[in-house]
Symmetry: D2
Subunit: 332 residues, 4 copies
C-alpha cells in the first residue's frame, strides 16, 4: 500500500488514558481547574470529556502505582480503514489484539509503538448526547461550556518520549498513515517528529528520551484556542500550587501556544492556546529544524525550556543505565 | 462512486479572483491595510498572497466594470483525484474545460456551480519560496509577517450567494466530495449550507440570495486567528473609511469570529478571528438550524446582522424580477 | 473654593446598591456567572465584592418592588476632604444627611443628584482581608480569583440617566470635584457627560433620559480588563438566557470595551473589557462629540446601539408625560 | 509639608531621553517596529511620540558614546505644584536648576536622584495637535494609530537601577509626593520599590543594582494594553533580530504584563501588555514582598528572569569594584 493510499485512514486522536497514583487529586485537577465533565466511574477508573469532545470520553484516569500513559486512541475514517490498519500492522509482524471493552467505544485494535506505548484504534464510537441541562445553543458544541475553572475545549494532541524515535515515527507513518510535518535533527539523529493525519500541526509527536528510557509519556495536551485562556490558566495554576514547568509562550515548531504543567499525579499536561499552523497544503515538505539552531523552534518569545523538558517523562520502563542517569540528574 | 469514496479528494480552498472597478484602491486595501504581498502584475490583474499562504497567490484582483467573483480555486489531494473530479462532473453532464493559464498553477479544470459561479480545481501548484529578505525563522511560515497594517495570515473561505442553494450544495457534495457541516432551513427551503473537505467548519458556504439573483459572491474571508486582530482591524477600517457592515462578533454557526467590511471595489470581505469549530469527528451529522430560531446562529454576542447581509452581493446576474426587488429594497 | 482646588477630593467609586424584585436570581447572576463573593447577608440585602475590590463590598443587592439604583458611593481622599465636600454641598443648599449604617463603611454623607439619584460619600472604610483559603499569592489582590463563571475584577463605573444632565454634571463638578473628560451635544443640549476624578475615562457618567424620567439608572459596570473575557461572558450569557442588549464592541467615547446585558432583576449591567483611555494629561480639554456625527463615538466596530439603549433605565420616577411616552414607544 | 499634602503634585511621567551609540538603528526600532511618530529632529537628537502620547514628544533619542538614560521628565498637576516641588527639594538641599530648553516643554526644573539619574519636572507643555492626515476619529486619541509594526500607545513607566534604592525612593516620596505601592526586601535591604502618584501600579520604579553601579537605567516601558500585542511584538522582535531578554509573561508585582527586549543601542525596553493593578484605594498599605519568596512576584507564568535582569543596566557610573564584578560575571 503506497504512502499516498493511507493518508486518510485515521481521522483524529480521540482519547488517552492517564495513570496516576493520586486519582482523586488528578480528577480534581481535570474537573475543578480544567472544567472537564465526568461521564462514568468504573472500577479504578473515571472517564471524562471536555465540553467539545465528541464522544463519551477523551480522558480516562486510572489509579496505578505510578504516573504514566495507559494508552492513546485514534479513530479511523471508516470501518474498512480500521481493518486495513490491522492488515498493515500484521504485514510488518506487529503484535496486535482486538477488544471491545471500553465504555463508549466499540471494536478496538490494540498494539504498541516500537518503544512500547499503548495504542488503540477504532471506528465504532458512541457519540456524546448531552442531557437537557447541559445542552448548548451552539449546535456544533456537544455540551455547554461549564462554569468552573478555565475549561478546556477538547483533547488536542499527545507527545511520546522514545528511546529511539525513528521506528516510532516510521510506524505511525507506515501503519497509520501519519505524515511528519516537522522534525528536529541533532546531527544525524532524529530527536523529534511532529505527525498528523489532518490539518493540525500534530496530533502525535515523539521526542527522543535523553535518559534512554522506553515508552514514556512526555505530555498530553488539551485545547483552549485563545492565548488569554493560557494566561488565565497559568494564574490559576499558580494560585492552586500546580507546578508550571514553562510557558505560556509559543513554539516556533508547530506555532503552538504552549503552557506545560504537572498534574497532581505527575503527568505533564499541556494547555494549547491556539491551533498552531494548520497544514492545508497536502504535499508540503517536512520542515527540518537543526537542534543546534533551535531557539525559535523552542519558543518565539523569551521562554527558556528547562532541562526537565528534555528528561522528565512518566510511565514506561527505565533501563539500569537510565535509572543511573536520572539519579545523577537528581543529585545536581 | 460512493460519498465515502470522494471524501478526501479536495485538500483545500487555494485561491480566489475578485473583480473590481477600482483596482488601485482594492490593491491598497489588501496590501496597506491587510498586509498582503504582491507577487505578480500582469495585464489587468495583480496577484497577492498572505504571509502564510503556501502558493504563489491566493488572491487575484482583476479590473472589471463591476465588482464580483472571477472564480474560486480548490486544490485536489492528488493528480488522480483531479481526474476523478472531472469524471464525476462529466458523469453528471456538467460543462467543463481544461486550461493551464494562471501564474503559479498548472493544469486546471474549469466549470461552474449550478448557479453560475466559476470554479477551478488543480493539483499542480508552484510553492511560494521567499527571497532571503522575506524569509521567516519559523519554518512552517512561507514568509515573514509584514510590518504593515493588520496582516492576514491566509485565505480562509468563501461564501457564495445562490438563487437556489440546493443544487449548489449537491454539486459540491457529489462532484467534489464536500460534506455539509451545518445548514439552515426556512421551512422546507434550504437557505444556507456550510461545507468542508477538511477540519475547518467550512471552506465553501452558500446562502440563498433573497433577491433571486444568480451567481453572486457573498464574501471572501481571510484568517487572523486572534480575536484581538479582528478588533484591531475594525479600528483600522473605521479610521480609513472602510465600511464595516457588522462585527466583530462570533457566529453560532461555525463558531467563527467574524468582521464583515466592504473593500473599496464593493466586494464584501470577512476577517476571520478564530478557526471556529474544527470538525474532527469524521461522521458527525449535519447540524440543522431553523431560520426562525437562528439568533445564536447569527451571533453569539449582541451583533444584529443588517438586512444587507441577506441581500447584498457582488457580480452574478440579476433577473428582471431581482432588479425590481432591489429597486424596491433601495427605496425603503 | 476653586475648581483647581477640589480636583483631588474623591478617590474613586467604591460601591453601589442595586434594587431588584428577584433578589435570588440577581444574586445568582452576580455570584455564579460573574464570580462575585458574598461577604454578608442582612435583612433584605446581600453584600458582594469582586476579587479585586478593596473593601467589604462594592455591590449591595436589596429586594424591592422594582429594579433600580439604591445609591452609589464614592470614597474621598481624606477625612478632611469629606468634610469639605459637605461644606460645598451646604454652600449650594443641597440637602444632606450623615449616617453610619452600612456594613463595612464608617461615617457617611448622603445626598441626591439634582435628578434624584442617591449619592453617598465616605472616608472610613473597612479593608477586606481574605481568610487563608481565599488569599492570593499576588499581594495586590485582596482575594483569589474564583473558579466560577467569568469572574469580574472590580466595580468600574456607573451611568445615570437624567431628565436634564447639565445640573447633574455641574453638581459632580462643583461639589465633588469631578472633571468632564468627554461630552455629547445635540445642538445646544447636553445629552451625555463622562466624568472622573482619577485616570479612568469615567467613573460616573450621565446621559439624557429621552423619556423625561428622573433619577433612573442606566447601567452599573464591572471590570474585566480583557477583550477575551467580554467575549467569554457574552457566550456565557447566551447559554444562560441573560439578555444581551449590545456588544461586545468598543465605544469611541471613553475607548471602553463594552458588553451590556440585563441582570435578572432588570438592571442593565456593563462588562468592561479594557480600561479605555487613561487620562494622564491633567489639563486636557473636554472632548465634545456631536450627537449627529456620533457613529464612532457609539461603537468603533459595527455594533448598532438599539433604541432601548437611549430609553431603558431602571428605578427613578416617571412623570405622567414620560409614562405616556413609554407607552407610545412600547406600542411601536 | 505632610505626606498627605503632596500626594497630588505630580500628574504623570511625561517623557524620557535615551542615549544611544547607534541613533539610526534606535530610531528604526522605535519607528518601524514600535510605530512611533517623529515630531522633530534637532542636533544629535530626534523627538518621538506614540499615537496616544498627549504632548510633542515622550521619547528623545540622543546620540552618545554609550547607551543610558538622558533624563526622565514628570508633569506636575499645576504651576504652583512645580514651585512647591522646587521648594521641597531646596529644603533638603538638593541641587537644582531651571531651564526652558526642550522642544515642546516650558519652564523646567532639573535635579538628580540621590543615585545620579537626571530628573526634570514641568507644568508647561505644548499639547500635540495632529495635522489632518494624522487625526483620529476617536476624540481622546491625539493621532491615528499608525499602520507600521506593532504600535505602542504611550509611554508607561521607567525603572531606575540604584546602588542604594532607599534614598532614591525617599526622594521621590518626600520631594515629589510619590507613594510606594509595592516593595521587595532582602532581609533588611530594600531591593525594589514601585512608586506612583496616580492609579497606575507604578510610573517610577527603582531596583537595587547588584553591581554597585550608580545611576543606571533598568528599563523604559511603553504601553500596549493587550496581551496579544505583547505576543505580536515578541514574534516581530524574533524575526528582526531584536534580543528578547524575557517575556511575555505577567509579574505578580504590579500585575504587569511584561516583555523585555534590548533596543539596538543597548537600552532595555519593556512592552507593557496591560495596565497591571490600578490603585484605586487611596490609603492602601505598601505591599512588601520577600526577595527569598518572590517567584510569583517575578512571574505568574513560568518565565524565569535571567541573571542579566538583575545586573544589566545602561548609563550611569561604575565603580572599580563594579567593573570587576561585571568582568567576573562576563567570564562565567
Amino acid at each position: 500500500m503506497s504512502h499516498q493510499d493511507n493518508r486518510f485512514e485515521i481521522a483524529h486522536l480521540a482519547r488517552a488514558e492517564l495513570l496516576t497514583p493520586v486519582p482523586e487529586k488528578t480528577e480534581w485537577f481535570f474537573t475543578e481547574l480544567l472544567g472537564m465533565y465526568v461521564t462514568k466511574r468504573e472500577g479504578q477508573s473515571v472517564y471524562l470529556r471536555s465540553y467539545e469532545d465528541p464522544y463519551q470520553w477523551s480522558l480516562k484516569i486510572t489509579e496505578a502505582p505510578s504516573a504514566g500513559l495507559g494508552h492513546l486512541g485514534v479513530r479511523t475514517t471508516s470501518a474498512a480503514a480500521l481493518d486495513r490498519r490491522a492488515d498493515a500492522l500484521k504485514a510488518d509482524s506487529v503484535n496486535l489484539s482486538w477488544g471491545e471493552n471500553e465504555f463508549g467505544y466499540g471494536k478496538t485494535l490494540h498494539f504498541q509503538t516500537p518503544d512500547g506505548h499503548g495504542v488503540s484504534a477504532f471506528w465504532e464510537v458512541e457519540k456524546y448526547v448531552a442531557p437537557p441541562a447541559l445542552q448548548s445553543k451552539i449546535l456544533t458544541r456537544p455540551s455547554r461550556k461549564p462554569l468552573k475553572g478555565v475549561p478546556v475545549k477538547r483533547l488536542d494532541h499527545i507527545n511520546l518520549m522514545a528511546s529511539d524515535i525513528t521506528p516510532v515515527r516510521r510506524s505511525f507513518e507506515r501503519h497509520l498513515g501519519y505524515r511528519t510535518t516537522e522534525s528536529v535533527l541533532n546531527g544525524n539523529v532524529e530527536v523529534g517528529a511532529w505527525m498528523t493525519t489532518n490539518l493540525l500541526g500534530h496530533e502525535i509527536a515523539t521526542m527522543r528520551d535523553s535518559t534512554g528510557a522506553r515508552g514514556r509519556l512526555h505530555h498530553l495536551a488539551f485545547f483552549y484556542g485563545s492565548l488569554q485562556h493560557n494566561t488565565d490558566a497559568a494564574e490559576m495554576f499558580r494560585e492552586y500550587d500546580i507546578e508550571i514547568e514553562v510557558g505560556p509562550d509559543i513554539h516556533g515548531i508547530t506555532q503552538g501556544a504552549f503552557l506545560y504543567v504537572m498534574e497532581p499525579g505527575g503527568n505533564r499536561i499541556e494547555l494549547f492556546g491556539n491551533t498552531g499552523i494548520l497544514h492545508l497544503d497536502p504535499d508540503a515538505d517536512t520542515k527540518v529544524w537543526d537542534f543546534n539552531d533551535f531557539d525559535v523552534g523552542l519558543a518565539i518569545g523569551g521562554a527558556k525550556l528547562p532541562p526537565t523538558y528534555f528528561t522528565y517523562g512518566t510511565g514506561g520502563t527505565l533501563s539500569a543505565e537510565a535509572q543511573a542517569d536520572l539519579s545523577r540528574l537528581a543529585s545536581v
